[in-house]
C-alpha cells in the first residue's frame, strides 16, 4: 500500500520533497475565503482513499467554553534560526496560545502563551457565545525583505502581536485592535490592512468590521458598524480585489436611512484613514430572517467569473445567494444575481440547522466554476439535487455550479449533495477532492423542558466526535472517511490542507494530521 501511493505520486512527476509548494496562510486559504487549495499536488481523487493518521499532537491548550483550536496555518520553507528550513503548522488555541509544529514530524518547535491582566469585562461563564481568550485565527505575512514570516495574532486582551514564525519571538510591539474578550473572528490581511469582525456584543464589544493599517505607525483602529447583531461569519470578512471587506451581519433591522444593516452583508473599504461601508445586500425577506433568528452569518467566498467578481454567501435559512461584488443586491440592495431554493431547515430552526460557517469555490480545468456550502440538519424535502448519496438527516455538503445564461443572468445550479454528515462543516477543495467533516458537536440551544438553555457544559457533555470526509469534487462521491478515528469534536474550527496533509483540531486540544502512509 505504502509503496503503491509513493509510486503514484512519483508517476505524477513529483516527489514529496519537491512537492512543497502549497501554503495556507490565512483562514479560508486566501483573502477571498475561497477555501480552495490551488497548489495541492499530492493528494488526489485516486489516492485520497489511502489517508492515514500521520501524527497527532496533544497541545496544552485549555478550551474556553466550546472553543479550542482553530484551523492551522501552513508555511513552507521557513528558514530556521539554527539553519535549514521547515514546513511549519502554526496552530492557535483559544487559551491565548500559539504553537509552531514541524509538519514532517508532528513535533513542537516552539509555543507561546500570552498573559495579561484579567480584563474587567467578559462574557458569562457557561455561555458558548462569548468565550474569553484568543478567538481569531491568526494570519501569516509574506516573507519580508529579510526572509522573515510574520505571524499576526489577536489575543484575548484585544492586542495584535507580531511574531517571527521561525522562533515565536516578538518582532514588533503589541498594539490594541479591539476590546478585551471581544470575540473577534479570523484575521484577514490584504495589502497591509488587517481586518477582523466581532459579534455577539461579547463583553460590550461592538458588532462591526475592524481594520488597521499595519504601515500606520499610530495603528489607528478603523471600524464600520452596521448597527446589527453580530458579524459572526466563521472566517471573518472576505476581501475582494478592490479592498472591500465583506462580512455578514447578524439579526437586526434594515433601516438604510439610519445606516442600519441587520441580517445582510456589508462591504467596507479603508479610505482616507476610515473604514467606510461602500455597499450592502439585504435579503428581501430580512424580517422573516430576523423573526426566526435565521441570520446571515456565513463568510462569503469571492471569485472571478466571466469577467465579473462574484461572491456567494448564505444564512441559517438555508439558501445560497450569488452576488456581484461591484453591485451587491442591485439598485435596491435586495436583488441577488440568484438565490437558491431552501436546501434544508424546513422547520426554520435557529439551531442545529441551516448554513453555518463559510462557503468554498473552485474552478475546474474546463472552466466550470463550482461553489460549495455546508449545512446542518435534514435536507429540505423539496430540494432534490441531481446526485445525492442517501438520506441526509444531520447535514451535508452541497455543490453547485455558476451558470451564465444567454440573457446575461447568472444562476446557481445544484450538482450534487454529499452523504449525511453529523453537521457538515465548511468544505475545502484541493486537487479535485472536497474535504469536509461532521463536527460531532452538540449544537442544541433550546429544549422542550428547559426552553433556551445554551450552556457550554451541557453541550460539551452531549457532543461526540468529528469525522473527516474526502469527496470527489465533481460527483460528491465519498472517497474517504475517518470513521471513529478522531476521538473528540470541535466547535467553530475548520480544516487545512497543504502538501498532502489534512489537518483538523479538536476540542481536547489535539491536532490531527492525515496524509498518505510513508509520507515525509
Amino acid at each position: 500500500m505504502n509503496s503503491k501511493y509513493l509510486a503514484m505520486a512519483l508517476a505524477g512527476g513529483l516527489s514529496f520533497g519537491l512537492a512543497w509548494a502549497a501554503e495556507w496562510t490565512t483562514d479560508g486559504g486566501n483573502s477571498q475565503r475561497q477555501n480552495w487549495q490551488r497548489d495541492e499536488k499530492i493528494l488526489n481523487k485516486n489516492n485520497v482513499k489511502g489517508l492515514k493518521l500521520l501524527w497527532k499532537i496533544q497541545l496544552d491548550n485549555k478550551p474556553h467554553e466550546m472553543h479550542s483550536l482553530f484551523p492551522p496555518l501552513i508555511a513552507e520553507n521557513v528558514k530556521m534560526p539554527g539553519g535549514g528550513s521547515k514546513e511549519i503548522a502554526l496552530q492557535a488555541g483559544i487559551d491565548d496560545n500559539i504553537y509552531a509544529i514541524e509538519v514532517a514530524t508532528g513535533k513542537l518547535i516552539w509555543s507561546k502563551h500570552f498573559t495579561y491582566p484579567t480584563p474587567a469585562r467578559r462574557g458569562s461563564p457557561g455561555d458558548p457565545l462569548c468565550p474569553t481568550g484568543q478567538t481569531a485565527t491568526p494570519v501569516l505575512s509574506p516573507k519580508d525583505a529579510s526572509g522573515v514570516r510574520k505571524v499576526y495574532a489577536l489575543t484575548g486582551d484585544g492586542k495584535i502581536h507580531t511574531l517571527n514564525l521561525a522562533d515565536g519571538e516578538d518582532v514588533a510591539p503589541p498594539f490594541l485592535f479591539g476590546y478585551p474578550n471581544g470575540k473577534s473572528y479570523a484575521l484577514n490581511l490584504w495589502n497591509d490592512i488587517l481586518f477582523t469582525t466581532t459579534s455577539q456584543g461579547c463583553a460590550g464589544n461592538p458588532n462591526q468590521i475592524w481594520a488597521v493599517n499595519l504601515k500606520d505607525p499610530e495603528h489607528k483602529v478603523m471600524a464600520a458598524r452596521p448597527k446589527s447583531g453580530g458579524l459572526w461569519g466563521r472566517q471573518g470578512a472576505a476581501v475582494d480585489s478592490t479592498g472591500i471587506a465583506w462580512a455578514p451581519t447578524g439579526d437586526g433591522r434594515y433601516e438604510p436611512a439610519n445606516q442600519v444593516y441587520g441580517n445582510g452583508l456589508i462591504g467596507a473599504r479603508v479610505e482616507d484613514g476610515n473604514l467606510n461601508i461602500k455597499d450592502y445586500y439585504i435579503p428581501s425577506n430580512w424580517i422573516w430572517l430576523q423573526k426566526r433568528d435565521l441570520d446571515m452569518q456565513v463568510t462569503p467566498a469571492i471569485f472571478e467569473f466571466k469577467g465579473k467578481e462574484l461572491m456567494v454567501t448564505g444564512s441559517k435559512e438555508c439558501r445560497m445567494m450569488l452576488l456581484d461584488t461591484r453591485n451587491a443586491g442591485g439598485a435596491n440592495h435586495q436583488t441577488p444575481l440568484d438565490r437558491t431554493p431552501l436546501m434544508c431547515n424546513e422547520e426554520t430552526d435557529f439551531q442545529s440547522a441551516g448554513i453555518w460557517g463559510s462557503m468554498a469555490t473552485w474552478e475546474a480545468a474546463n472552466g466550470m466554476r463550482w461553489v460549495l456550502t455546508p449545512f446542518w440538519g435534514p435536507v429540505h424535502p423539496e430540494f432534490k439535487p441531481p446526485v445525492s448519496y442517501g438520506p441526509v438527516v444531520h447535514g451535508a455538503v452541497v455543490a453547485l455550479t455558476v451558470e451564465a445564461e444567454a440573457n446575461g443572468k447568472f444562476k446557481l445550479k445544484p450538482r450534487w449533495m454529499s452523504r449525511d454528515m453529523d453537521q457538515a462543516e465548511p468544505p475545502l477543495i484541493a486537487n479535485g477532492v472536497v474535504y469536509s467533516y461532521g463536527n460531532g458537536e452538540n449544537t442544541r440551544q433550546a429544549y422542550a423542558d428547559k426552553g433556551l438553555y445554551d450552556f457550554s457544559p451541557e453541550r460539551i457533555k452531549n457532543s461526540t466526535h468529528a469525522t473527516l470526509y474526502a469527496l470527489d469534487a465533481e460527483t460528491g462521491k465519498e472517497l474517504y472517511s475517518s470513521g471513529d478515528l478522531i476521538k473528540s469534536w470541535n466547535h467553530f474550527s475548520g480544516l487545512t490542507v497543504a502538501n498532502g496533509r489534512v489537518y483538523i483540531g479538536t476540542y481536547d486540544s489535539i491536532l490531527y494530521c492525515f496524509g498518505l502512509e510513508g509520507q515525509k
Binding site: 458569562s124 461563564p125 457557561g126 455561555d127 484585544g158 498594539f175 490594541l176 485592535f177 479591539g178 476590546y179 455577539q200 456584543g201 460590550g204 464589544n205 461592538p206 458588532n207 489607528k220 483602529v221 471600524a223 458598524r225 448597527k227 446589527s228 447583531g229 453580530g230 447578524g250 439579526d251 437586526g252 433591522r253 442600519v260 441587520g262 428581501s284 425577506n285 424580517i287 422573516w288 430576523q290 423573526k291 426566526r292 433568528d293 422547520e347 426554520t348 430552526d349 435557529f350 439551531q351 440547522a353 442544541r444 433550546a446 429544549y447 422542550a448 423542558d449 428547559k450 426552553g451 433556551l452 438553555y453 445554551d454 450552556f455
Partner: protein
C-alpha cells in the same frame, strides 16, 4: 488605543437590543388581550391606517374538531416568540370542543402540536358543542434579551413558587386550559405535555368562559346551563405542587350567574350578573367588595384608567353603555338606550388615541339595527361623559378590537338566535377608530359564519374562527 475606546462609546451590547417596537414580537395572552379586557393591542405597529388596505388572507386552518356551532373553536391566544426546541416560533393556541387543543405555527400555518384531553364528559344539547374555555398564557412570554444560565456566585433570579417554579434555568411559561371534566391543564407550550397531573378545578361538564392568569391565580366563570353550577372560580397556582399532584389545592368560588371577568389595575375582579348587577370581588378571596345594581344586562366588562382611577365599562339595558367608578361602583355615565333587541353583545373594546382621548366600542345586537357603536369619553369637569361618535351597522357584530387606531369589527353572519345555526358569511371590517370609515373589508373571502368568541390581533394578523372549525387570519404579508 484612544481610537479604540472612542469607537466603543455608545455601542449597544447585543443585537437583540436593536429590536424596535415595530419589530418586537407581541403576545395576545388572554381573551380580550389583557386582564382588563380592553381588546386593545397597544404596541403593534405592523398594521397601520396606511397599510391596512393591504391585508390579505395569510392563514386558513381547518381544525379536525368534532364540535359544531358558534363556540366550537376559539381564536388563538398568541405567544409572539417562543424559543422552542424547534426554533423561534410565533404560536397560537386554540381550543375546540370537545376537549381538543392545538398549537399552531402561525407563520407557517402548521400544526405544532395537538392535544386531546382525556376524560371527556358527555353532554347534550348546547353543552355538547360548547367550546372549552379560551386558553390563557402567562404574560409576558416573549423573548426580549437572550438569557444566560446562572452561574455560581451570581445573584439568584426571581424564582416563582409552586407550579410556576421553572424546571430548568429558563423554562418556558405554560399554557393553561380546562377540559370538560373540569380539570385545569398546565401544558408545556412546546409540546402540549401536561406539566403536572391535571388539577380538579371546575364541576365536570361546566360551560366555562375564558381563563385569565392574574397574580399567580387562574380565574374563570361557569354558567348554570351545563355543569349545573354558575360562579366565579379561582385557583392559586403557587399552591399546586408538581411533586405532589394528589395534594390538590383548594379552589375558591363565588356562586352566581355571571358573565366574563375583567380585572382592575389593583386586580379587583369585575363581573356582571344575570340579575343586572356589577360585582367587585377580591382577587384572592372572591369576597364581594362592592356591587352595583339595576344595570339590566350582562357582558364582560372592560376597565380603563381615567383621572388615575379605574373606570369600569359595563352593559346597561337596551344597549346602553355604562361607566362606573371602581371606588364604590357608582355610575359615572351612561349612554342612551339604542335598541329593543339583545343589547351589548359579549363585551367592549376601549383604547386611547394618540391625542389621549379615550374611546369605547360596543357591539350591539338590536332592533331595528345591529352594529358597532363608538363612544368618546370626554372629561367634563373631572367627570366622564359618553358621546357617541359613530356607528357602523353590521349583522351579528362580535367584540371588536383596536390596534394602531384601527377598529376591527367582525360581522359573524346571520343569526336569528343563539341556538340557531348561522348562515351567510363572516366579514371582517377595518374601520377608522375615530370616524368609523371603512378602510378594509374581507368582503366575500370567508365562506362561513363566524364563531361568537371575538377576535385576536398579534404581530400584524387578525384572527377569528368560523363555525366550520376553520381558523382564519388576515394580515400583512410577510415574505419568507
Amino acid at each position: 488605543m484612544r481610537a479604540v475606546w472612542l469607537l466603543l462609546a455608545g455601542v449597544p451590547i447585543a443585537g437583540v437590543a436593536m429590536l424596535s417596537a415595530q419589530g418586537r414580537p407581541l403576545d395576545w395572552p388572554f381573551f380580550g388581550g389583557d386582564a382588563q379586557r380592553t381588546n386593545w393591542q397597544k404596541n403593534d405597529l405592523r398594521i397601520t391606517k396606511e397599510n391596512v388596505h393591504e391585508l390579505q388572507l395569510v392563514l386558513k386552518r381547518k381544525l379536525d374538531n368534532a364540535g359544531a356551532g358558534p363556540r366550537s373553536a376559539t381564536p388563538p391566544v398568541v405567544i409572539g416568540n417562543l424559543i422552542s426546541y424547534k426554533g423561534f416560533k410565533e404560536l397560537g393556541f386554540v381550543t375546540g370542543a370537545p376537549d381538543s387543543m392545538w398549537s399552531l405555527d402561525l407563520d407557517l400555518d402548521r400544526v405544532f402540536w395537538h392535544k386531546k384531553f382525556a376524560g371527556s364528559v358527555k353532554a347534550s344539547g348546547a353543552c355538547a358543542v360548547a367550546a372549552t374555555a379560551f386558553p390563557s398564557l402567562t404574560p409576558p412570554n416573549n423573548f426580549t434579551t437572550r438569557p444566560r444560565p446562572a452561574v455560581a456566585g451570581s445573584a439568584p433570579a426571581e424564582v416563582p413558587r409552586g407550579l410556576m417554579a421553572p424546571k430548568g434555568v429558563y423554562s418556558q411559561k405554560p399554557v393553561f386550559a380546562v377540559s370538560s371534566d373540569g380539570r385545569l391543564h398546565v401544558l408545556n407550550t412546546s409540546t402540549g405535555e401536561d406539566l403536572v397531573t391535571p388539577v380538579p378545578f371546575l364541576p365536570a361538564g361546566s360551560k366555562a368562559s375564558s381563563l385569565a392568569i392574574v397574580d399567580g391565580h387562574v380565574y374563570t366563570t361557569t354558567s348554570a346551563a351545563c355543569g349545573g353550577t354558575a360562579g366565579v372560580w379561582a385557583i392559586d397556582l403557587s399552591r399546586i405542587d408538581p411533586a405532589n399532584p394528589a395534594g390538590a389545592p383548594p379552589v375558591l368560588s363565588y356562586k352566581a350567574a355571571v358573565g366574563g371577568l375583567a380585572f382592575g389595575t389593583d386586580n379587583t375582579i369585575y363581573a356582571q350578573t344575570g340579575d343586572g348587577e356589577l360585582l367587585a370581588l377580591g382577587h384572592k378571596d372572591l369576597v364581594v367588595k362592592a356591587k352595583a345594581s339595576g344595570l339590566g344586562a350582562v357582558a364582560t366588562p372592560s376597565v380603563f384608567q381615567f383621572q388615575n382611577r379605574d373606570v369600569i365599562v359595563a352593559s346597561g339595558a337596551k344597549g346602553a353603555v355604562t361607566l362606573l367608578d371602581s371606588n364604590g361602583l357608582k355610575v359615572l355615565a351612561q349612554s342612551a338606550t339604542v335598541t329593543s333587541g339583545r343589547g351589548v353583545w359579549g363585551g367592549f373594546a376601549t383604547w386611547a388615541d394618540t391625542d389621549g382621548a379615550r374611546w369605547i366600542l360596543a357591539p350591539v345586537w338590536g332592533a331595528p339595527k345591529s352594529g358597532v357603536m363608538a363612544f368618546e369619553v370626554e372629561d367634563q369637569g373631572g367627570k366622564p361623559v359618553l358621546t357617541q361618535r359613530w356607528m357602523r351597522e353590521m349583522s351579528a357584530p362580535q367584540i371588536p378590537l383596536v390596534t394602531s387606531g384601527i377598529a376591527f369589527a367582525l360581522s359573524a353572519g346571520e343569526y336569528a338566535s343563539e341556538d340557531a345555526k348561522g348562515s351567510g358569511r363572516a366579514t371582517l371590517f377595518a374601520l377608522d377608530g375615530a370616524t368609523g370609515k371603512e378602510l378594509y373589508s374581507t368582503a366575500k373571502q370567508v365562506s362561513a359564519p363566524a364563531n361568537w368568541n371575538g377576535l385576536t390581533v398579534a404581530n400584524g394578523r387578525v384572527y377569528f374562527a368560523t363555525i366550520d372549525n376553520t381558523l382564519w387570519a388576515f394580515g400583512i404579508f410577510l415574505e419568507r
